[in-house]
Amino acid sequence: MARVQFHRLSFAIVDDNSHVRRLLRTVLYSFGAREIYEAEDGLLGLEAVDRHHPDILITDLVMPNYDGFELVRTIRNPRGCSHSTVPIIMLTGHAEKRHVLMARELGVSEFLCKPFSADSVYQRVRSIIERPRAFLNVEGYYGPELRAPTKAPEEQRTSPVVPASRPAREPAEHRSEVFNPEDNMMEIEI
């Protein structure tokens, strides 16, 4: 049986809701993590990431002043943050595709929907540990290599090791045709 030594990992939790922070802290502590930093908004979260260089950042999306998207945007700017490659799990009640895709475009590593379970947190952390992705700087995108959609084996062998679909911003009208805002994307991989 494989065991992960969670006590070696450090986490930063950024959420303006103290109850959510408490739930997450309880879950991570139960996994074995002992180094857990908390921040109640994006600015304090950025400070925590800069100062403590956590192994994994878990951030809410909807927060006052400086929301999760702004936080990720700042972190994924090497000139704006000293730990710009930190794996980021975005935690949110906004499970629609457009939010997932926006998170992906900004360089979020994993997407986790509220309400979350201990197992869902564990799976996201495991994914970051077990399926590490190279970090790319490509045409305005700075973030983990995007997971390619399933391809035929032949195509997989010949494709370069870069995002299968560059996170380019598509025209808004195209997006609205493609994405159903009501779709729940809890299981989507970024």
Partner: protein, 178 residues
Amino acid sequence: MMAGESAEKVQLVEVANNLKEKVKITGTGKINMDAVERAEAALKELSSQFDGWLDEEIERLGRTHDAVREHGLVPPHSDELYRSAHDIKGQGDTFGYPLAATICGSLCKLLGSVEDQTQIPMELIDHHVNAVRRVKLDGIKTLDHPTGRAVAEQLGDLVLSYIETAAPAEDNGDAAAS
């Protein structure tokens, strides 16, 4: 980037994280799920506090609602109302009140789907906030409760009807989300 495009524009900044080495996965085979079971047990222990936590969240919703009634649906009051409703939408299920989460989801949809929030009828917001208070007061937790279900469905229908007649938000809700 599509296959065939030049890979020269791509800069590999850094190799993937080395967390796998850091956590020193010991043993082989399936991952030991003790950690998840421990966490679930810890959450169960914590759940005795969830009722009080939801009360705090509903009090907060009430405060932001009061502010909106006093100042109108304008920032920062409208944003605060949205965030407080959004928090119950996100955690109501965990706290044992999925019905409260559903009602707050309806309120979030209302606030996030129209361009001019100041035109939203205040009564519609009042109904949502009062309904959340009521379901908590009466201990109506799920949609299995006929009255609770009827209220949630009626609120949902009212929101949909209103959204259909109002101009949509530019980014279909992102403004409220940010």
